[in-house]
Symmetry: C2
Subunit: 127 residues, 2 copies
């Protein structure tokens, strides 16, 4: 098993103050579907006067989106142990909804569960 954790900072998003949490979660579900992941529970936390933090828990880990409408910014995290397409392709529905451009993306190395027991026994860290 490999863990895929990719983060995206998306700028120039024009209408974040008009987006609903349900629209965000729907795009996150489409992203999960493209990845081949199974959505479980979701959380929508609407901020005042606008902006959201949305979480979609997957059987394979989770997707989070936080929007900052006054800055036209969205922070997107895709964290999963299954990615049948590139995460950058999978977030297409989110990018279309947000309407911005990726200003920053990082791949974050994470320890997969099936390596964790060995790593703990050997006192190893991933590099």
């Amino acid at each position: 098993m490999t863990m895929t954790h990719v983060v995206y900072d998306i700028t120039g998003c024009p209408g974040l103050d008009q987006l609903s949490g349900d629209e965000l979660i729907d795009a996150m579900r489409q992203t999960a579907h493209r990845l081949g992941c199974t959505p479980r529970t979701s959380l929508i936390d609407p901020f005042e006067p606008f902006g959201h933090t949305c979480v979609l828990v997957l059987s394979e880990s989770h997707i989070t989106v936080s929007t900052w409408p006054e800055s036209g910014l969205a922070h997107v995290d895709v964290f999963t142990c299954r990615a049948q397409v590139e995460p950058g392709e999978a977030i297409g529905p989110l990018l279309r909804l947000l309407g911005g451009q990726i200003a920053n993306t990082r791949q974050v190395p994470r320890l997969p569960p099936d390596n964790a027991l060995h790593a703990a026994q050997a006192g190893e860290a991933i590099r």
Copy 2:
């Protein structure tokens, strides 16, 4: 404003199958308190036969914890625009609850909201 996003993969956690979601959220709240952050909503998703994904939404972003009891592994993410102590110090209550060691930690550069408008106008990405 600076954004702090630090991830921790914690191995050798002996009793993750015995932990409750409420215990995890409580330790995440203590971590938020140490950081000087304000907890908002929380989500606990218990997996079968064991394991949890827990999310604590902060006014300043969020903390997530996913446990993999069969592997003694926990994935911890601390993502905040306020950190009055080092995140590695702030997660002390979580580390004590989980009972493992940090096998992997990464600082993830993220674009802060007050830089996002400028970055979008200039077509810049953070390095």
